[in-house]
């Protein structure tokens, strides 16, 4: 097996680790950093470094190494965190991400960016260490060469290192001293079994030394520091971090490491970082496995097939004599329950918590708030609400846009907020919750709210048809019109007006809808309602002629049997139905979809009132069959987009039924009418008693 087979695993892991790192960095309380968090950040950097080293991604390894050093200082409280330091860390994290992408695409990362970030990190290290390390470690303003580990082959000025051995037995100690002799001149050695200090004059890097010593003792038993009279104190100190860090790792994961001395793990040096990387992720991953989505989809398909087979069997068994075949009937009952449970369980595999989406916003909000000079606190609620994976991926862009809008237009500057009697820090809430078969996602800000007058004025100047007595809701809907932006200045954050209509369209494409509630001075709430999954749909099956179609239940408002009194012809070939003082256009399914042998008499049909893309109309069908959950199957996998049809599904008898696209049916009807192919039946003013049909 080629090592490159593992690249993908590494990339995915590294990406997750970077995500973790960012999250922890953002959560860090600068004044009183949580040690656990610092450790977590540190471990993430360390794990990436280890992997990068194993796969030979030098630039990535080196960058993480520098970051890791700094993190180690912070972790041990030797470096006070400041906001700008955290910013640098975040910037480095982004850089690492870029580098990772470059490697993933088989390219070398951007060298200039790499140099720049290295310089920044090195400068930070020198500056910080100059302040906190006493004695001879005077800050050296001269630009340092790259720290030694990254280029071990390059000659390094001779320096003194203190190699400290902790809890090392006398026997091992002798071996170690002998080994150290190979690196240079042992100047002095002193101490006891608990702490034994060997001063070594050497040109080798502490890491090289450590790697060799690790053949004999555990890495946490070794500490290497620059000795006071070192000529190269700055660098020596920078290196300290990398040597002490494995202790945290190993202690945590391998309790036996605390056991004394006699152990001599002979790990090859290359595997060491990997071994250390292992534990950091094992905690998070031991309870989950990574599976390609198509494998899951395959299982979902197979289970769907199983259900169909089961219902076919069920049909056969139900016709048999229940007494004579009692155990078979019982067995079928059991099979049915198990099959349904199995289907439910399999469907839940695709579900991921909203945290997957929300976790990328703290960073965005932080950066954007800083850019806009606003104080914003981000609150997320309902992170554990689950949503279909494919939907979570598609909701990210629209949500990002809404969050940007809230920050840019919604939340005011601190001065304005204080003037308005509000706390200077704005609050942005992202929340998710289940609501029936849907998920409700809200973006709530406590900013200025939408400005009705401004929206109306803007709409007028855009040539939209508006009036002053429009309801608030209607006015808010204006911002979803294409090319609509009320931002006074176009910034790079928002204001180009290309956003909200795209947001709306994306959400509608997912089968959801979006609405806005806004109060002047109190803020704006954008509400997105999405179906939980695209894979399953609550449908109403209808019959036209001999054919069965599925209507999305969400689009069905009611159904009724029209009487001649309710039906009105308009312009000869349009038919309207009057439902509760409202005239709705009537579309006959059999005409639009050319169904043969269907009932052409409107008063003998059933009118299903549906709503799609804001349009309400009545669909004429022959019969309502029932209501059922259907597994949505893509038609375009092997075929093409069919007008008026959104997808297909497989019915209990194994045949295919088409799922109608409510909005598209309307369009299709219009185009067909324009093509002059639709003619209404002449007789439609035949009185008939009104009969309400319960939507089953």
């Amino acid at each position: 097996m080629d090592i490159s087979d593992f690249y993908d695993t590494f990339f995915e892991e590294a990406e997750e680790l970077l995500g973790d790192m960012e999250q922890h960095l953002l959560e860090l309380d600068i004044d009183d950093p949580d040690a656990e968090q610092l450790n977590a950040i540190f471990r993430a950097a360390h794990s990436i470094k280890g992997g990068a080293g194993t796969f030979g991604f030098d630039i990535l390894q080196h960058t993480t190494h520098l970051l890791e050093n700094l993190l180690d200082f912070a972790r041990r409280g030797e470096m006070a965190l400041r906001r700008d330091i955290v910013d640098t860390f975040l910037e480095t994290k982004d850089m690492l991400h870029d580098q990772l992408d470059a490697y993933r695409n088989g390219q070398e990362p951007d060298a200039d960016a790499y140099d720049r970030i290295c310089k920044t990190l090195q400068a930070l290290a020198l500056q910080e260490m100059g302040q906190s390390v006493d004695g001879g470690a005077a800050p050296e303003p001269a630009p340092q060469p790259k720290p030694v580990e990254a280029a071990p082959e390059s000659p390094v000025a001779s320096g003194c290192l203190n190699v400290v051995l902790l809890d090392v037995s006398e026997k091992d100690r002798a071996t170690l001293v002998e080994e150290l002799g190979n690196f240079g001149k042992v100047v002095s050695e002193q101490g006891d079994a608990k702490r034994y200090v060997i001063t070594l004059e050497t040109t080798s890097s502490p890491d090289d030394i450590e790697v060799v010593l690790c053949f004999i003792v555990e890495p946490e038993q070794i500490e290497i520091e620059a000795s006071a009279p070192s000529v190269d104190a700055g660098k020596g100190v920078v290196e300290v971090s990398s040597t002490a860090e494995p202790s945290a790792q190993v202690v945590e994961t391998a309790p036996k490491a605390a056991a004394p001395v006699t152990q001599a793990p002979a790990k090859p040096p290359t595997s060491k970082p990997k071994a250390a990387a292992g534990p950091a992720k094992s905690g998070a991953e031991s309870t989950s496995i990574r599976v390609p989505v198509d494998k899951v989809d395959q299982i979902i398909n197979l289970v769907g097939e199983l259900i169909i087979t089961q219902s076919m069997l069920d049909q056969t068994v139900s016709e048999m004599d229940g007494v004579a075949h009692g155990s078979l009937v019982n067995g079928m009952g059991l099979l049915q329950r198990n099959a349904r449970d199995l289907q439910e369980a399999v469907m839940s595999i695709r579900m991921v918590p909203m945290d997957y989406v929300f976790s990328r916003f703290p960073r965005l909000v932080r950066d954007l708030a800083a850019k806009l000079n606003k104080d914003v606190e981000l609150v997320t609620e309902g992170k554990s609400t689950e949503l279909d994976k494919s939907l979570t991926e598609r909701i990210i862009d629209p949500l990002t846009h809404l969050v940007r809008n809230s920050l840019d237009h919604g939340i005011e500057t601190p001065e304005k907020r204080v003037a308005a009697g509000k706390p200077s820090t704005g609050k942005l809430t992202l929340s998710a919750q289940h609501q029936g078969g849907n998920i409700l996602i809200e973006v709530i800000d406590d900013g200025a709210g939408l400005n009705r007058d401004k929206l109306l004025a803007k709409a007028r100047s855009n040539g939209l048809n508006v009036s002053d007595n429009m309801s608030d809701d209607e006015v808010w809907q204006l911002i979803f019109a294409p090319g609509f932006s009320t931002a006074e200045q176009v910034s790079d954050v928002s204001g180009r007006g290309v956003g909200m209509d795209v947001v709306k369209r994306n959400i509608q494409a997912m089968g959801g809808h979006v609405e806005i509630v806004s109060r002047p001075g109190e803020g704006t709430t954008t509400r997105i309602v999405l179906p939980l999954t695209l894979a399953i749909l609550d449908g109403m099956s209808i019959k036209v002629g001999k054919e069965i179609f599925i209507l999305p239940l969400g689009a069905v408002l009611e159904s009724l049997q029209p009487t001649g009194d309710d039906l009105y012809a308009m312009a000869g070939d349009d038919l309207l139905i009057k439902v509760r003082d409202e005239y709705l256009p009537v579309i006959a399914v059999q005409e639009v979809l050319d169904v043969a042998n269907a009932n052409t008499e409107p008063t003998e049909c059933i009118a299903v009132i549906v709503q799609g893309e804001g349009r309400r109309y009545a669909l004429l069908v022959d019969d309502l069959v029932g209501q059922q959950q259907v597994v949505v199957k893509n038609l375009e996998t092997n075929y093409r987009k069919v007008p008026g049809v959104s997808a297909a599904t497989i019915l209990g008898d194994g045949s295919v039924a088409l799922i109608l696209d409510i909005a598209d049916m309307h369009r299709l009807s219009r185009t067909k009418k324009e093509a002059g192919r639709l003619r209404l039946p002449a007789s439609m003013h035949k009185p008939m008693p009104l009969k309400e049909v319960e939507p089953s």
């Binding site: 199957k633 093409r640 297909a648 497989i650 045949s655 295919v656």
Partner: protein
């Protein structure tokens, strides 16, 4: 079935195997490597506003597969659906499509010498979609490039970039 002795004798690296099927009285053949399976014609759901030769879609173990009737496409006079009517499920590119034929008769191996170029005169079936004519004793097989045919614009099976 009646595997030609001569063709067996001349099997070499350049020979190709074809699945022979009949449409009315005519014999056609397609590359056997494109064939996924052969099944009966049943349970096809009609698709509205599609060309008449697209019979609809069917459920192939959980996958929705379009069914094309080549007899209608090639303007054959007699189109009947009976026990002999067969659907050849083919893999073209990433897609799976079923084609309705009157019957499947043979798997033949043709050497390059037995494959003659198709004359350029077809109107219904443009020679663009033929990979040649197979000559076997007194039989003539129309070798259809099924991938090209099914992906063509006139088959209306694929959304061609129109926007």
């Amino acid at each position: 079935m009646n595997m030609n002795a001569a063709s067996v004798a001349t099997v070499d690296a350049h020979s190709r195997e074809f699945l022979v099927f009949s449409l009315g009285e005519e014999e056609y053949a397609i590359d056997i490597l494109k064939v996924q399976e052969i099944r009966g014609y049943e349970n096809v759901t009609r698709i509205a506003n599609a060309p008449d030769f697209i019979k609809g879609v069917t459920n192939l173990r959980g996958v929705i597969v379009p069914i094309v009737d080549l007899r209608i496409k090639f303007h054959l006079s007699k189109v009947e659906y009976g026990g002999q009517t067969v659907v050849i499920v083919v893999n073209v590119g990433e897609r799976v499509v079923g084609i309705v034929v009157d019957g499947v008769s043979d798997v033949m191996t043709l050497t390059p010498e037995q494959i003659k170029p198709a004359p350029e005169f077809g109107v219904t079936l443009s020679s663009d979609y033929l990979s040649g004519l197979g000559s076997l004793d007194d039989r003539m097989l129309v070798l259809v490039d099924i991938e090209k045919l099914l992906n063509s614009e006139e088959m209306a099976l694929v959304d061609h970039i129109t926007e």
